[in-house]
């Protein structure tokens, strides 16, 4: 029992609590910097370009293939019950409600979150933040906040692209390849998808995921040990924590939104 001492447990719990408090304070600091960010929108715009435009290709290709697979699997099961026309509704509902926001957030964490963490961590390792403070420039306002708001703007847009491309992928497999009636495909989809409870809740989810993933990436970069090893660890932690956070939040949000 040498590894378990009450004082160690106490220290660990206090450490975790302090980390959480620090994270909450950091988040509040970033959120309260919305005003300066909107006044210097050029910084946010460049980050939207970096996070959004460069993620577009992976998001669109993934969406296309997710749509393909959903349509194939859905058709396989639905045709047993003689309702293969409902494949459009199935593809659209599963994309809009769950897969679109979740897969986009996971891909965004891997594609853009890691680069955010590595960038911030290396800036810290190179003591650029200290240099900024010497010049009376607030690094949180100049570097962190624009990246955060860019992430929050970008993730819902990427989710919309993912969903739209996925629906079209489902159409490609169902209608030209399998031969489902196109009229029934769209009308079943339009009958089953509600613009508020499905589309609106999907967008709300993607905004929450955007906040969570971007914030975790920035925080991990900001608190990383300023060494090569520390940045490597921080990047790994970003992906692990952001993925788990997205999946956990998704469960909570689904329980809140889709139970009636």
């Amino acid at each position: 029992m040498s590894w378990w001492r009450p004082s160690d447990v106490g220290l660990a719990v206090r450490g975790q609590l302090a980390d959480m408090g620090y994270a909450a304070r950091f988040l509040w600091r970033i959120v309260s910097l919305l005003g300066p960010c909107s006044r210097r929108f050029g910084l946010v715009r460049d980050q939207i370009h970096f996070l959004g435009n460069y993620s577009l290709a992976i998001i669109a290709v993934s969406g296309l293939f997710v749509g393909f697979v959903l349509a194939l699997q859905g058709y396989n099961i639905l045709q047993r019950y003689g309702s293969s026309e409902a494949v459009g509704m199935m593809v659209a509902l599963s994309l809009l409600r769950e897969l679109g926001p979740v897969v986009t957030a996971l891909l965004f964490a891997g594609r853009a979150g890691t680069s955010l963490t590595a960038e911030i961590g290396l800036m810290k390792a190179g003591e650029q933040f200290s240099a900024m403070e010497m010049m009376a420039v607030d690094p949180v306002q100049r570097i962190i906040a624009p990246r955060f708001w860019a992430g929050v703007i970008v993730v819902p847009l990427l989710t919309a692209v993912f969903n739209a491309v996925g629906v079209m992928g489902g159409w490609i497999v169902s209608v030209p390849m399998i031969g489902v009636d196109p009229g029934a495909f769209w009308s079943q989809m339009q009958g089953g998808v509600d613009w508020w409870s499905d589309l609106g809740n999907g967008v709300a989810k993607s905004v929450v995921f955007g906040v969570a993933v971007t914030f975790i990436a920035l925080l991990q970069g900001y608190v990383a040990k300023p060494t090569a090893d520390g940045v490597a660890h921080a990047t790994t932690r970003t992906v692990v924590m952001a993925s788990l956070m997205v999946l956990g939040l998704d469960f909570l949000l689904t329980a809140m939104m889709f139970t009636y």
């Binding site: 939207i48 370009h49 589309l199």
Partner: protein, 168 residues
């Protein structure tokens, strides 16, 4: 604010995202079919509404002429109380009847309205009295079992009568 070559690419990105959102809203969720048309409200009581839900369609001859606005319970008469929002373009006689029907074998339930012969039309706030409940599968099966049990019980007696008649 300074201009940059990123402007156009960011603009294209935002445009693509918004276009995707519009595509989803129009093509998947069919936002345009939300009728902002004026409706009149009609109420009706049913013994059993089965699986009817708010926003279910009200159809006449297969055409959607209204939607179920609200489903409640009348604890005086122990019946379901339904409010329907009917499109003002379509008028129905006061003695029209409502039926709860199912589209297909396993499809969703909707209300069918059949026109009556009254001179006056239904107006806002009217109550439709002629209603027919949803078909409940369990009741159908128990009725069928009861009928077949009754016919099984009666048929040996018929056979017995025939025999006794033959012996005479």
């Amino acid at each position: 604010m300074e201009r940059s070559k990123n402007d156009i690419w960011v603009g294209l990105f935002v445009l693509a995202g918004l276009a995707a959102l519009v595509f989803l809203a129009l093509q998947s969720a069919n936002l345009l079919s939300l009728s902002f048309q004026r409706t009149y409200q009609v109420t009706a009581n049913f013994d059993n509404i089965g699986g009817l839900k708010p926003k279910s369609a009200v159809r006449s001859a297969g055409v959607v002429v209204g939607r179920v606005a609200d489903i409640g319970f009348d604890d005086q008469r122990f019946q379901a109380r339904i409010a329907l929002e009917m499109d003002t373009r379509f008028k129905f006689p006061k003695d029209s009847s409502l039926k709860i029907l199912t589209s297909g074998l396993l499809g969703e339930q909707y209300i069918g309205i059949e026109a009556g012969a009254d001179e006056k039309n239904l107006a806002d706030g009217d109550n439709v009295t002629l209603t027919q409940s949803a078909v409940v599968l369990e009741n159908l099966i128990s009725q069928f079992l009861y009928n077949s049990a009754a016919s099984n019980a009666s048929s040996p007696a018929e056979v017995g009568k025939g025999r006794s008649g033959g012996a005479k």
